[in-house]
Each structure stands twice: as C-alpha cells, then as structure tokens.
C-alpha cells in the first residue's frame, strides 16, 4: 500500500531534514512548528508497460479511432515526442517514449506507412545531440531514422513552418510544416507534472516564437495561477485556444504517459525516504555525502549527479483525443503528487536540486535557479500559493556565476545586459525581448549548435513573474552573493540568517513551510 503525501509539523524529535542545494544537499534543522510537506510514496508501476501501451493504442479515449485504423499506406505520418527536458532526472532506459514509439512504428509498418518522420518537439529549447536522441528513442529507432527522418524541430526554419491561423484572441498558431501537413500527427508525451501535456504538447512543443510570444510573456505568466493547474493557468488557456486551431487543421493522436515518484535510483534511496525511516545505510550515505560531496572537484561532483538515472515506473498510458486523454493523465498525476495542505504560510522554503528542465547535461546557471525556484517550485500548487501574499521565499542553492557558453549563450548576455538594467519582467520584455529573439547570432547557434533560443532566458525570467509579483522577499541560502545580487535578491549563510533577514517582511516569528521535494509534490492549498 502506497502511503500518501502528508504534512509534518517539526517538533523536538524531528531529525535534521534533507534539503537539496544544487550539486549538494544539506541536513537542516528547521524551527519548531515548521510544516514539512512530504511527497507520496511511489505508486506501483504498471506490471506490463508494453501491454498497457498496446491497450491504449487500441482503445483510445474520446472520439478517436484506434491508432491502427488511422494508419494507411501512402500516408504521411509524423511522430513528435517530448524532448530531453523530461523526465528529470532522465529515466532508466528503455525510455517510455522509446517503448511507445516502437509500438507506433510497428503499427505503421504493418499498415504499409513509408513516409514517417520523428520530431523532437523542442520548441525554443536546444537541439538534442545524436546521443541524446538515441537515448530517448532507443538504438533500433535511432539507427533506422537518424538523421534524415529523426530530427530536432527548428523553430527558426521559416521555410518549414506553417501558419495555421489565429485564435479568437488573435494568437498566431504557427507550427512545424511537416506536422501541419501530415495526415496524422502522433504525439508521445511524458507527463511528469501537471503542467505538461494536453494541447501544450503540440501547440507549444512544435511552435515558433511567433506563436509562443502570445503566452510566454509577463502578463500571461503572472496570471497563470498556477502553471500546475491548467484550469487556472492563462498560459494553458492560450495553449488550449491554439490547440483548437491546430486540431481543426491537423489530425492529432495524443499518447500521454505518467510516472511514479521513483525519482532516484535505489542506491540513493535516502533521497526519497522520510528521514526518520532511514536505515543505517541510508544514514551513512546521507551524512557521508552531505559532508564529502562539497569537497569533490567540481567536475567530479557534477559527474556524480549527472550519472544519476531515475528508477521511474510508468503508472499510466492513455491515448486518443487530446482533451480526454489529458483529463485522464491529470488524474494519474494528481493520484501521485497531490498533497492537501491547510492554509498558507509566511515563509516557504525550497531546496533546489542539481537539475531542472533546461540544464540536462549542462550547467544550472543563476537564471535557471530563479526559474526553478520561483517558476517551478513556487507554482507547485492548486488553489493558492503555499506562501501568503507579500511573504518570503527561501531558496537553497549555491548559484555560482557559471554559464554554459554552448547551451546558454544568450543567458550570458541576459545576465550582463538585461539584469543590470532591470529585473522587472514587464520592463525587460518591452525593452530587450525582441532584439534577443531576433538576434542573428543566437538564431545561428540555436539552429546549428546546441544553444537555447536567444529569447529563452526571458522566458525563464517570466516563469518567475507570478512569484515576483506575489512575494516581498526572495533569499538564497549558501549562494554566491554577486550572482544573487545581480538578480535582485538577497543571500544568507544559513536558514536562521535568512529568517532573520526576512523578519522585515514577515515578522520575527513567521509560520514556515518546507516543500520536501523532489520527488514532485502538488500542494492542494485549502
């Protein structure tokens, strides 16, 4: 029996709690009375994933016919799939996308479909390397299709984009020409959190800047409350409107999958267990690693973390029409991640791990820590944020002044040029976004190297717009002071100091909530 997530109140018997802090973690004592939100234990994985996939393809949701009936000889089939930003950490192979794609291809082959193209739906994310593509789709598919028919989506290839129309709100819907002109677009998703999937898969993953700018902007982001609650997210509403336009032009067969909470492999079991239930081995690992990992050379430390692959198990596969499929998907995500929490607090504490969606095989630069903390962690709620209006957010992360020139070239300039001028999302959007979005060098690196699009750091900052609007204080613990100051935040050397610094906004005896994540928790705040 899987135990659900719950809220612990820290008392005298509570041991030090594990807090992620980039490529390290701490064992931290929280003040008495602190609420700690623990994730649910991992749901049991499906015993036979291939059978579940086959069943989903044969028994689609909504008005869709079974996939085999949608395939025919001479058709043009496009299979798009989520890119490397999902899941986190990367899952043990075979990746669920590989398992789904192999079955789709098998059905296509039986139906005599020759014209097949696989597209990594990376939108404005960086191009995946051959090795990264291979890891997702598996050796067999990679060998058969790469490079001609297994490609990264290129949102700047003007000749290969199709403008499908505009929504009633005047939003452009411009997506991959190949997908738009296919007889069938099959989308293969990994739905790690409630934000993923649905119309977001196709109308964002395969879209150009011309489309994305309509919802990836400070106004929409500030009014997405939260990203993890699609019904109350302006971004999702926009994506849904675009999805309607897309569906009126393109036949889509959506395949969504959900994962359990096994975010770390068994040797790192202490990362997913509750501290008072740690075995002697867990305790030794936790204490040993927390004391020694910081002493490792940076490259070795990074390698230790990059080598982590999650033991994720698949909890559901559903296929068919986008909306009914996604409805079912959300139920599975909620079953794993939803934890009821009573009311807001003055202060919320997040321990930011070493990985986020945009630094897989790369560096977690300061802007990405902001996005992870104020964008992702802050938005892990339904109803209302964990922290009250004008409260404080405390983030644990070292936040070194470090960037990948390969993956994040425009971030470097964003950090130097934009953040020195303003940290206000609306102001930077007005003054700087267009020139970064249309910068030819960034375009070149996005298209030919492995760089995120020039506008991407703006989107990362906008992810935090709702939090910036909501709280009064953001304090990093144990961070590089200069990096954090550049972003307009403050640093403290310890949790105690951070609370003292926040006392100006939340008083000297604030209520505190610590979101004990990862694994993921979606706080249902009552």
């Amino acid at each position: 029996m899987t135990r659900p997530g719950f809220v612990l109140e820290v008392d005298e018997r509570t041991p030090p709690l594990l807090v992620h802090s980039g490529e390290s973690f701490r064992l931290e004592r929280f003040p008495l009375g602190t609420r700690v939100i623990y994730p649910a234990e991992s749901l049991p994985a499906l015993p036979d994933v291939p059978a579940a996939i086959a069943d989903a393809l044969d028994n689609p949701l909504g008005d869709s016919k079974p996939l085999r009936e949608l395939l025919f000889s001479g058709m043009r089939l496009t299979i798009a799939f989520d890119d490397i930003s999902l899941p986190l950490p990367p899952m043990r192979t075979p990746d669920i996308r590989q398992q789904v794609i192999e079955q789709v291809l098998e059905l296509a082959a039986r139906a005599g479909v020759d014209d097949v193209q696989l597209i990594s739906a990376n939108a404005l994310h960086r191009r995946l390397t051959a090795g990264e593509l291979k890891r997702i789709v598996g050796e067999r598919v990679f060998r058969s299709f790469y490079p001609e028919a297994l490609v990264n989506f290129d949102a700047e290839d003007r000749d290969n984009l199709t403008h499908l129309g505009v929504t009633p709100h005047g939003e452009d819907v411009e997506i991959s020409k190949r997908a738009a002109e296919s007889d069938l677009l099959v989308y293969v998703n990994v739905n790690l959190v409630a934000m993923d999937g649905g119309h977001k898969s196709t109308s964002i993953g395969l879209a150009s800047y011309n489309s994305l700018r309509h919802h990836h902007n400070p106004h929409t982001m500030t009014h997405s409350r939260s990203f993890m609650d699609p019904r109350h997210s302006e971004m999702h509403k926009s994506a849904w409107r675009m999805g309607k336009v897309l569906q009126s032009n393109v036949k889509v067969f959506q395949i969504e999958t959900t994962l359990n909470n096994a975010a770390f492999p068994s040797q790192y079991g202490f990362l997913t267990k509750r501290e008072w239930e740690w075995s002697v081995k867990d305790q030794a690992m936790a204490v040993g690693m927390s004391k020694s990992i910081d002493r490792l050379p940076a490259q070795l430390r990074r390698k230790v973390f990059r080598d982590i692959v999650a033991d994720y198990g698949v909890t559901s596969v559903q296929a068919g029409e986008i909306e009914p499929v996604h409805e079912r998907t959300l139920q599975h995500v909620h079953r794993q991640q939803l934890v009821e929490v009573e009311g807001q607090t003055d202060v919320v504490v997040f321990g930011l791990p070493y990985i986020g969606p945009y630094n897989v095989n790369s560096v977690m630069n300061p802007i990405l820590t902001m996005c992870l903390g104020l964008g992702y962690f802050f938005n892990m709620y339904r109803n209302k944020p964990l922290v009250r209006k004008d409260g404080a957010i405390i983030l644990f992360h070292p936040t070194p002044w470090e960037f990948s020139q390969l993956h994040h070239p425009s971030y470097v300039d964003f950090f130097e040029e934009v953040l020195t001028a303003t940290t206000d999302p609306a102001v930077m959007s007005e003054r700087f976004e267009k020139q970064y979005a249309e910068d030819e060098w960034y375009r070149h690196l996005y298209r030919t190297s492995h760089a995120y699009h020039g506008v991407h750091p703006f989107y990362m900052w906008y992810w935090g717009a709702h939090a910036l609007d909501h709280v009064q204080d953001v304090i990093y613990v144990g961070a590089d002071r200069k990096s954090v100051e550049r972003m307009g935040f403050r640093t403290a050397s310890s949790l105690r100091d951070a609370l003292a610094m926040a006392s100006g906004s939340v008083g000297s005896d604030p209520s505190i909530t610590y979101l004990h994540s990862p694994p993921h928790i979606l706080a249902d705040v009552r």
Binding site: V412, D413, E416, Q435, D439, E440, W441, H444
Partner: protein, 387 residues
C-alpha cells in the same frame, strides 16, 4: 640643476628591452640616470625658460625607458635627453603655463612646412632640422631639457597660459587632455555611431571624456582592467565597461554582431562598432580593436602599439586605420576649457619628488593596478620636489 636623463648605452638598452620591459627600473638596467647638469641654453629668439612645477609620466616615456619603443623614432630624438613632455611650468615672471611639446617649424626657426602652416604641427616634417637638435617633442631633444628636471627651455609658440583658478594637479593634465581632444577630432565619429575605447589609463579615460563632449557618439563601450578604472570610465562617459576578456562578447551584445572562432587565435566579430579607439598602447589592445570593428569602420590609434598585430581584419573588413599623434592648433585651447570639468578631479594622481624617480617610474608602470590615473613629479619645492 638636477635632472633625470636618458642616455645612449647599447648594452643597457638591449638588456632593458630583453629583460625588464614594463618594470624598467627595478633591476637598474635601463639607460636612465639622475644627473646634475647645466640648465639648457636658449636656442634663439622666442625661446624662454620654464621652471617645471608638475610633470607627468606618459606611456611613451615608459616605452622609452623600458626600451620597448619602436626604432622608427631613433632618428627623431637626440641623446642624452631629459624626458617629460606633460609639463605644468612657470615662467620667470610667475605666469603658469602648460607646454605643447611638439618641436615644429616655429620652434626650430624655420619657415612653416605645409603641415605647420595648416596648424597641424604634430605632422611637422622638419623635426630633425633647424637650430635645435632632432627631437619630435620636448622631452626627446638634447637641447631643450624636459619636464623631469629643474628647468627647461621652450619656444613661446609651445606655451599656453593656464587660467588662474585651475589647480596645478588638474592643469598638468592639459597635454594628455589636448591629445585626447585631438583623438576625438581625428576619430570622425558621426551621429549615434557606436564607439569602443580600448584601455582606461589616462589616455583612455581622457578620450572617453572628449569623445562624449566633442562628438555626437552613440553608445560608448570602454575596456578597463581594474575596478577604479571601471568606475572612472562610467563617470567620464562610457555606457558600458567590460573587462579585456569580455570585450568581444560585450561588443557583440551591444551591436548584435556575429561571433566567429578561428582555429587559432581570439574570437572576432562579423559586425561590431563603427569606430574603435586604441588607447592602451598594447598590441593586444589593437588586436581587440581590429577584431571588434565593423566592416568599413574606423580604428583610431591613440596609444602606441609596440609589437606586431595580425592585420588581416584591416584588409578583409576594409578598416580605415587612423593615427592620432599629439595635437593640432586649437586642441590645447579646447583642453584648457574642458579642464574645468569637475569630474576630472576624480582622477587620482600621484606626484613624487625628483629624487624618488625610480619609484615614480615603477609606480607609473603599475598605475592602473594601483588605481592611479596619472603619476609624475612634483618640482614646486625646487629640484628635490615636494615631500
């Protein structure tokens, strides 16, 4: 009269050039000595005696004493000479003057050459002729003496009266500021053109001031190594200040150029600033300038690069290279007006008695690191100088 003197000594010159470079005096090898000599005699009509009050140490002086200046200049100097061409001095009647050091036709008792006639005295073709020994400037001529001494002689055409209310420490900046005025005028900057100033020593900082004050430049980026230089560069007109290692990315960012990386050597830009001004006097600085100036743009040499630079970009990007040496008519007058700018009081100066000449020169060689914009000699208390 006490004076610092550069003299001819091939072994010392070679040893200095090979071994010591930018710390010229630390090892006592440079062909420089502190001497007791007779005051220079007046070469002819129109010449007067000037008693130096404050005298600066310029980058070209450091190049000379460190043996790193070009042999090109060897016919244009006469040995031994007393360096010092940034001079605030006093006439026998007590009038404070600053010195335009160029020894052109007027000073040499010659009919004006075409350049001198046009007011472009720094382009004088006759700096080896006339009734004084060869010397492109006071401070490089055996007959005139120089600022690093108790007395020099100057032609009245070289002298400019200092306004009474101008403090000595700012007035001594007149010559380098006049050179910076000349740089701004030579740069030909048009409205809203982007400008890169490489180097934030005295030349670079004063150039920032003059480019901002005298041209319709748009965005100005400065390259500075040290924190104090960075702050001063912003104060004097730079919109952005970047470190030497960040300059290509900084210019790329502001001009939306494209960065390319050669198989060997530093990154460069396709695109870049409209005008770059090299003020560091280093080959690295010039290399930076030619790599970050747009095709058809202009590179102005305000400093004096002393070794080779890959000039491929000059050819391939059709760059216009412009020299800016010393001053033309009117530059000193403008400089004396600009000296009233209170921001110049932020330039930290350090003046030493002449007896501390070794320390002064070594300090000048490290001025940027030490946060000093100008190092020199204080001779107001006689040749021993003020304490």
């Amino acid at each position: 009269m006490k004076a610092v003197e550069v003299y001819r000594s091939v072994p010392r010159y070679v040893a200095t050039r090979v071994l010591t470079q930018r710390t010229p005096l630390a090892q006592g090898l440079a062909p420089v000595r502190y001497v007791d000599r007779r005051e220079p005699s007046l070469p002819g009509d129109g010449w007067v005696r000037v008693k130096p009050l404050l005298s600066g140490i310029c980058g070209s002086d450091l190049a000379t004493v460190s043996g790193s200046s070009s042999f090109y200049f060897s016919p244009l100097v006469s040995m031994p000479f007393t360096p010092g061409h940034e001079v605030l001095g006093e006439l026998e009647d007590g009038t404070r003057v600053v010195l335009d050091p160029v020894l052109g036709c007027a000073a040499r008792g010659l009919d004006p050459c075409a350049s001198c006639a046009a007011g472009a005295t720094s382009r004088c073709d006759r700096v080896t002729l006339g009734h004084v020994s060869p010397g492109l400037q006071t401070g490089f001529c055996a007959d005139t003496g120089g600022g690093w001494s108790g007395g020099l002689v100057a032609h009245t055409s070289q002298l400019h009266v200092v306004p009474g209310d101008l403090p000595d420490e700012r007035a001594v900046l007149a010559e380098p500021l006049a050179c910076a005025v000349h740089v701004a005028r030579r740069s030909g900057i048009e409205k809203d053109q982007s400008v890169l100033v490489v180097g934030a020593g005295a030349v670079g900082l004063l150039t920032l001031l003059t480019v901002r004050a005298l041209t319709p430049a748009g965005r100005i980026t400065a390259v500075a190594k040290h924190p104090k230089q960075t702050a001063l560069a912003r104060e004097l007109g730079a919109d952005e200040v970047v470190g030497p290692s960040a300059v290509v990315r900084g210019i790329r960012r502001s001009t939306r150029a494209v960065v390319v990386s050669p198989e060997r050597g530093r990154d460069y830009l396709l695109g870049g600033v409209d005008v770059s001004i090299e003020c560091s006097g280093s080959s690295t600085g010039l290399d930076t300038a030619v790599r970050t100036t747009r095709a058809g743009g202009r590179v102005v040499l305000a400093g004096l690069p002393t070794s080779g630079v890959d000039l491929t970009p000059v050819w391939y990007r059709e760059l216009e290279v412009v020299g800016a040496y010393a001053t033309h008519a009117g530059d000193f007058a403008t400089a004396l007006e600009l000296l009233s700018d209170e921001r110049l009081s932020g330039l930290t100066t350090s003046f030493h008695p002449l007896t501390r000449w070794r320390e002064a020169i070594d300090e000048a060689a490290s001025a940027g690191r030490l946060g000093l914009a100008k190092v020199g000699f204080d001779l107001r208390d006689g040749e021993r100088g003020a304490a």
